[in-house]
């Protein structure tokens, strides 16, 4: 059984079919890409997987649990982490606190009575794990800086780190390279590969940057107007005529 098994996800917005029976499987530890032109339904698909949108039909099974009707936070606790296309950070928090909140949430040990007795300070173990992730993402030099002072590229890394603290089995990355320059994108790809080899996290990547996709993803799904038009090994899919026509705008 696959780690993620999304079957026939269909979503309509006021008569427009944004997703038409899209199915997708992701295995543990795999890197998969989801590509398609703007408006193809990639982010809508992400939102359906994570419960931010309710699909009109279809089912989501993750880690052998049916999550079709589960709220967002429960899917997150089941092991789906994500980053956002338009960056979503916690204003007024330091970088370290971003990770600490996620760590505390994963442990689920934040009891109210502990707050009242002032026992909620982060434990040595929590601090160490946060520091390890900060070092992995090379964010340790800005650990205590306010989040507002970070560049967009490092802000994206904080999002990745925050998602990683929840120890996801599957990490959904929504256009992680948008707004980054070439060297930042390359660094991000390196970091993601490091994370994957170290933690065995499966990654599902939505991306426009074809180079990034080519080097990172082993397998691809291609969406166009809400339907899957191709799927298979990265090189084969990127080479197929139909995909080049729909996505890369080439006439064959």
């Amino acid at each position: 059984m696959s780690l993620l098994d999304a079957v026939n996800i269909t979503k309509r917005f006021a008569g427009i079919t944004a997703l038409d029976a899209v199915s997708m499987q992701v295995e543990s530890g795999e890197s998969v890409g989801l590509i398609g032109p703007n408006g193809a339904g990639k982010t809508t698909f992400f939102n359906c997987l994570l419960g931010m949108l309710r699909p009109d039909a279809g089912s989501v099974t993750f880690d052998e649990r049916d999550l079709t009707r589960a709220p967002v936070y429960r899917r997150a606790r089941a092991g789906i982490g994500r980053t956002f296309q338009r960056i979503e950070l916690f204003a007024g928090m330091s970088v370290r606190d971003h990770l600490l909140v996620a760590e505390r949430c994963r442990l689920g040990t934040g009891r109210f009575w502990k707050d009242i007795l002032n026992l909620a300070a982060p434990s040595g173990d929590e601090k160490a794990r946060v520091l390890a992730t900060l070092e992995l993402l090379r964010l340790d030099d800005v650990a205590d800086a306010p989040i507002e002072s970070l560049s967009l590229g490092r802000g994206r890394l904080v999002e990745v780190g925050r998602a990683l603290m929840t120890e996801p089995k599957l990490l959904l990355l929504d256009e992680p390279s948008s707004g980054l320059d070439a060297s930042e994108t390359a660094a991000l790809a390196d970091t993601l590969r490091a994370v994957q080899s170290e933690r065995g996290t499966a990654v599902l990547l939505v991306e426009h940057d074809v180079e990034f996709v080519r080097t990172f993803a082993r397998r691809l799904y291609v969406l166009d107007f809400g339907t899957l038009i191709a799927t298979g090994a990265t090189a084969a899919v990127l080479g197929s005529a139909e995909v080049r026509k729909a996505y890369l705008g080439e006439t064959v």
């Binding site: 939102n47 994500r82 956002f84 916690f90 934040g110 909620a120």
Partner: protein, 653 residues
């Protein structure tokens, strides 16, 4: 059947009253993005000026009407736009709501002091050529005042419909609400459009004020405020967008009210409390169950990300030397005042100090719900009332001793808060504020008069706990409770709950994506906040020796929020400042020799600054003076320099 028709006809004039105000609310919301609670205050301004000119100075009806409604009211709207709302266009809906709330508190007081004065305001006259002329419709008779309202309401709806359908300005007004920056990029002068919007809606408020005033025996701001809140139900029925639907909503409300009072036995308790409660209950239910209402306010300026983030709080940027200096001087002053109170002060000043301390406890509840959870609840005074009534009733009925009962009272308030939070949290934003306001008014009209709640006509007395009967020991008790609650709040903010709430404020989408359950954590915040308010309310009742429902009316709920938000909503220090301010400002005003009503003006106008300084004016001033002081300090004593250039964070996905 003829009864039925009679009641329906009877309901139409009242329905038009609701409709006229609701149309005004919808118009303002549509054209300025502000849910304008100050609409009632604007109407009161016009009604008062018209009264003074026409009744006191004997101006002819037409002249007074033209000057007040067609000239002064639009000018007032222009003034509000230029001075206040123009600068808030990109602020959050909740910030705009708080600003209009400040006006609602301040403006009627200014008018009462400057225009109406102390003399009586009876004998309000309408604009119809003969107020008492009678118009017959089968069995039912409508008088001139009512005829004027019906005709004007229908005319207004017709004209506005034409304006929005056929005039280009209608489209531009909607564009400015959607995104003022985008509209300016498209070459439209957003300032001019919004000035027109405000003048138009203010003209409507003036018209409503002049028309509605004669329905009451005398001119009183409370009538206008209550009417305004009732009319929100009709505006909610129209989903805040459709002017014709606001008319329908208002008519329905008026007719249902007339039917209820027609068919229910007139002397029964139900009839007496149900009829005034109906609009608020309707608002409450509409907010919860009317589809499409919530999506009405969830539009977001696509260019909102260009705003810089707020400055970090003073406590963060302040150097260690200054922090310690502030703490030491705070302790010294506090101890000094306390020593004076415990030895030399008169009973009068001890009473004032106790009030300050007790209200600080109530205000800490606002620190939790608004400062930490980011929700503006307008029923904190009601929670305090729940605490006070439960404490008083439990002591009286079960004969428990007072101190443990205070905790029970707080627990009852916490449970009420949690139960209210469950439906309210589905709403969020300004609808949560309106829902809590509806709850507060419902409690006032429906529950508070009942014998088992407040004792009805004979308020329930509560003794002071044994050993704390005298004023000085009681003050010490209150200070101890305040200290405990303050520490409690600080621990919560530092703890997991506080971090989760900060995360939710920063980005709810992202907070959910890491596994935070927003509903659970916010219900907890609501319960804690209601519990703290209930504890404070209970102590207030014990201080006075009796739990009186007038101390916990909905208007206090509004005023409390205005007060705390004006000063500093996010810190314990802010709540204590607000408590001291609430008790001390009337005394200071008395010393200076002006009416204590000026406190409403002072704090009401202060709340307008909320949108520009969401951290509170005190915090803002502290920030400024801190910068000045740090400049003069030697370098080694200065704090860290605030962070460099920002990137946008958070917001909806």
């Amino acid at each position: 059947m003829t009864d039925f028709i009679t009641y329906v006809i009877q309901g139409i004039p009242f329905g038009c009253v609701f409709a006229l105000v609701a149309v005004g609310l919808v118009l303002t919301y549509k054209t300025s993005g502000v849910f304008n609670l100050a609409f009632g205050a604007q109407a009161f301004v016009a009604a008062s000026l018209y009264y003074v000119l026409h009744v006191r100075h004997g101006w002819p009806t037409l002249l007074a009407f033209a000057l007040v409604v067609l000239v002064i009211s639009p000018l007032l709207g222009l003034l509000l736009d230029v001075l206040i709302f123009r600068h808030l266009r990109t602020a959050s809906p909740i910030a705009k709501l708080v600003s209009s709330l400040g006006l609602l508190v301040a403006v009627p007081e200014i008018v009462t002091i400057l225009v109406l004065g102390e003399s009586s305001t009876f004998g309000v006259v309408g604009i119809w050529w003969n107020d008492n002329a009678l118009y017959r419709f089968s069995d039912y008779v409508i008088d001139g005042k009512e005829m004027a309202i019906i005709v004007s309401t229908l005319l207004v709806v017709l004209l506005l419909g034409l304006l929005f359908r056929f005039a280009p300005i209608g489209l531009r007004m909607r564009a400015v609400v959607e995104s003022p920056r985008m509209t300016e990029l498209a070459g439209v002068n957003a300032d001019r459009v919004s000035a027109f919007s405000w003048m138009l809606s203010s003209l409507l408020a003036g018209l409503a004020g002049v028309l509605l005033a004669p329905l009451y025996a005398s001119l009183a701001p409370q009538n206008f405020t209550t009417l305004l809140i009732a009319a929100i139900a009709a505006a909610a029925f129209a989903r805040l967008t459709s002017i014709p639907m606001a008319l329908v909503g208002g008519l329905l409300l008026g007719i249902i009210q007339a039917l209820l009072s027609g068919y229910l036995p007139p002397a029964s308790v139900i009839a007496q409390s149900v009829k005034p409660t109906l609009p608020f209950a309707a608002l409450f239910l509409l907010l919860l169950f009317w589809p499409g209402l919530r999506s009405a306010i969830q539009n977001k300026d696509p260019l909102s990300g260009v705003d810089p983030p707020p400055d970090p709080s003073v406590a963060v940027t302040r150097g260690r030397f200054l922090t310690n200096a502030t703490r030491v001087s705070g302790v010294v002053v506090g101890t000094g005042v306390l020593l004076w109170l415990l030895t030399a002060a008169t009973t009068y000043w001890i009473g004032i100090a106790t009030t300050a301390v007790v209200l600080s406890i109530v205000f800490l509840s606002i620190t939790v719900i608004t400062g930490m959870a980011g929700q503006v609840s307008l029923c904190q005074a009601t929670f305090a009332g729940v605490g006070a009534f439960s404490t008083a009733q439990i002591v009286k009925v079960l004969g428990l001793s007072v101190l443990p009962t205070l905790l029970l009272g707080a627990a009852v308030a916490a449970v009420v808060g949690a139960l209210l939070a469950v439906p309210m949290l589905r709403l969020g934003g300004i609808f949560l504020s309106l829902g809590t306001l509806a709850f507060a008014v419902m409690f006032d009209t429906l529950l508070a008069p009942l014998g088992w709640v407040s004792g009805g006509a004979h308020p329930v007395s509560v003794p002071r706990p044994i050993g704390f009967v005298d004023d000085r020991p009681f003050l010490i008790l209150c200070v101890v409770v305040l200290a405990i609650v303050s520490v409690f709040v600080i621990f919560i903010r530092r703890g997991t709950t506080g971090r989760y709430l900060t995360a939710l404020r920063g980005s709810e989408t992202a907070a959910r994506s890491i596994g935070i359950n927003p509903t659970r954590i916010r219900i907890l915040a609501f319960a804690v906040s209601a519990g703290i308010a209930g504890l404070g309310g209970g102590i207030l009742a014990v201080q006075k020796g009796v739990a009186v429902k007038e101390d916990f009316g909905y208007f206090y709920g509004l005023f409390f929020v205005v007060l705390v938000v004006t000063l500093m909503p996010s810190t314990v220090e802010g709540a204590i400042n607000a408590g001291v301010g609430f008790a001390l400002v009337p005394e200071v005003l008395k010393l200076v020799g002006v009416s204590s009503s000026w406190q409403f003006v002072l704090f009401g106008l202060g709340a307008i600054t909320y949108a520009r300084h969401p951290e509170g004016v005190l915090e803002f001033q502290k920030g400024k003076s801190l910068a000045a002081i740090q400049k003069r300090l030697p370098a080694r004593l200065r704090g860290p320099v605030p962070g460099p250039t920002p990137v946008p964070t958070g917001g909806a996905d």
